[in-house]
């Protein structure tokens, strides 16, 4: 098995952030099921917030955001974690995926996760976040992980359930990645249709 790269995108805004904490646990769980030497790159969207808005306005990403976008594009798998705001992903999370190049997540193995105040919001993963990645033609693993505030409580109670769920999701992502080819650089200029064909297909 070859070593893989995992990009972790966290849209948590607090510092420290429970979203970032969940993202870290998911990355560790996934890496635990991948060959040694696999690499985890974590992108905290908070640090890129201004660049993301600027990219929406100008149509191009500033260098730091470009690097983050490229990191996601080049990774074998993506772990995407957002806090829930008003019943859905927060605006920063959505804005980041809005500025990715079209098609750049097609076929990407993705694990989705979210944090929220109470478990009442947990299905937002299924009605809002999974459809976003379906639209982007990514392949999401079946287990989505939701962590409510109470889940971070004592290790004896619901915390165990969260840990078990994190591990299951990580195993699913690792298994999905294992059966896929390593991410390859797509070159839009390599696949341009020759002009005669453009002309005659017209």
């Amino acid at each position: 098995m070859t070593a893989r790269t995992i990009a972790v995108v966290s849209a948590g805004l607090g510092q420290p952030s429970s979203t970032r904490l969940l993202a870290g646990k998911l990355a560790a769980a996934t890496a635990g099921h991948l060959p040694a030497g696999s690499e985890v790159n974590t992108i905290e969207l908070r640090d890129l917030a201004h660049d993301i808005v600027n990219a929406l306005l100008t149509g191009f990403p500033a260098p730091a955001l470009r690097e983050a976008i490229d990191q996601v594009f080049r990774s074998d798998a993506l772990i995407a974690v957002t806090p829930l705001y008003s019943g859905s992903y927060n605006g920063l999370f959505k804005s980041f995926f809005d500025v990715l190049d079209p098609g750049s997540l097609a076929g990407k193995a993705v694990l989705i996760a979210a944090t929220g105040g109470t478990a009442r919001h947990s299905l937002a993963l299924e009605h809002a976040i999974r459809p976003l990645f379906t639209y982007l033609r990514a392949v999401t693993v079946p287990t989505a992980v939701f962590a409510a505030t109470e889940d971070w409580g004592s290790a004896g109670g619901s915390g165990d359930a969260l840990t078990a769920r994190i591990d299951r999701a990580g195993a699913e992502l690792a298994a999905l990645v294992e059966h896929r080819k390593p991410a390859a650089e797509a070159d839009p200029y390599a696949s341009v249709t020759p002009f005669e064909q453009l002309l005659h297909d017209n």
Binding site: N54, L57, T58, V192, L198
Partner: protein
């Protein structure tokens, strides 16, 4: 090397005074800028084409004809002419007419247009933008080169025994640039015909456009028009100058911060760092503009955007006076660096001369596509005489 200005023709409020010019004032200001461009020794004036507010230039050949009557040397061009929503027959007629009136001082830049609603207003669909550009230009190309055209396509009424009049001046069609900011297909189209490729790289980082221009150069060579470095490349630019760099930054900042395209986004400093925008002293503008050649290779035409974001006419005229000092330096530097094998910017005179040479030798040698028309025409451009 050709230098000029291109204008979008936007009616934008001056953010420092709140004053908005009338359409009449803006249209007249564009004409004033064109005349000023000739006065300060620029080679090219190019106008945009738009069919929605806040833009005024909906009828480019009308404006360019008016300017032609008031100038003697200036090449009149567009940035861009909409090859998608205009009827190619009307483009062929309008620009041939303009070419006669202006004694050949005419070329044009074709673009698709990125405003969705404009397409249905003209009975078209933006989702077919590339297909429209390809089919329409193929017809336009024939209308200027074949006296009688039989034609049938997807997007307009068929033509039987159609002659586009007037015929191009001296039998030589206006030179065509294809402008695109992201579509390899358009670079491929420009390369196929041996036409020019214009990368208006003013709003985005250079690396993106280097890929596009490099691809165009490679494909230009692939289609037998010459070596990659002989392809005909034009670039955009955007500058604001004062003798004192700090004055330029201080004066331009409110226009930058409120500009329609990038305003309320990145800082002026970040944007100048990431794009070709230069705001500073004339020397800083010279230094930054000279870096374009390092990225894109020797190129033929440099157009500057000078009059957008609500800058008042008086300020733009002052900017043009400064540009008139900067351009001779750029011209000297870039002309000196360009090898003799790389063609100069295209002119009608040079195109006529090379067409005559091609006719004298009967058939351009070493051109595998010579019988097909496009390559032969493009080959002619390569021989454009040096300034």
């Amino acid at each position: 090397m050709q230098f000029g200005i291109f204008t979008v023709g936007d009616v934008t409020s001056d953010p420092t005074t709140g004053r908005t010019p009338t359409e009449h004032e803006r249209i007249k200001a564009m004409v004033t800028l064109a005349r000023k461009a000739e006065e300060i020794g620029l080679d090219v004036f190019a106008t945009g084409e738009h069919h929605n507010p806040p833009f005024v230039p909906s009828s480019p050949t009308t404006m360019l004809g008016f300017i032609a009557a008031q100038t003697e040397k200036l090449i009149l061009s567009t940035a861009t002419t909409l090859i998608t929503t205009n009827d190619p027959v009307k483009i062929a007629e309008d620009f041939a007419m303009l070419q006669h009136l202006a004694d050949g001082r005419v070329d044009l830049m074709l673009g698709r247009g990125n405003t969705g609603p404009v397409y249905p207003w003209f009975g078209k669909d933006i989702r077919q933008g590339i297909e429209l550009a390809i089919e329409n230009y193929h017809l336009l190309h024939r209308l200027w080169r074949e006296d009688v055209v039989d034609w049938e396509g997807r997007f307009r009424t068929p033509l039987q025994g159609f002659t586009s009049t007037p015929r191009p001046l001296d039998g030589v069609p206006p030179f065509v640039w294809h402008g695109s900011i992201r579509s390899p297909e358009i670079a491929e189209q420009a390369a196929y015909y041996g036409d020019g490729f214009f990368a208006n790289h003013i709003f985005w980082p250079t690396e993106h456009f280097v890929r596009l221009v490099t691809f165009y150069r490679q494909r230009f060579a692939h289609y037998g028009h010459g070596s990659p470095d002989q392809a005909i490349v034009g670039l955009g630019g955007q500058v604001y100058m004062r003798k004192n760099s700090q004055d330029a930054v201080r004066e331009f900042r409110p226009y930058f911060d409120n500009a329609p395209v990038y305003g309320h986004g990145p800082s002026l400093e970040d944007f100048t760092g990431q794009t070709p925008l230069s705001v500073g002293s004339p020397q800083e503008v010279i230094d930054k503009t000279l870096t374009f050649r390092e990225h894109f290779g020797d190129y033929q035409r440099q157009l500057f955007l000078m009059d957008h974001a609500g800058l008042p006419l008086k300020t733009v005229l002052e900017q043009l006076d400064l540009l008139g000092e900067v351009v001779p330096v750029l011209r000297r530097e870039l002309d000196a660096l360009r090898p003799a094998s790389v063609p100069d910017g295209p002119t009608h005179k040079a195109l006529v001369a090379s067409a005559a040479r091609a006719a004298a030798t009967d058939e351009p040698a070493t051109d595998e596509r010579a019988t097909d028309g496009p390559a032969a025409e493009g080959g002619a451009v390569l021989e454009a005489s040096r300034r």
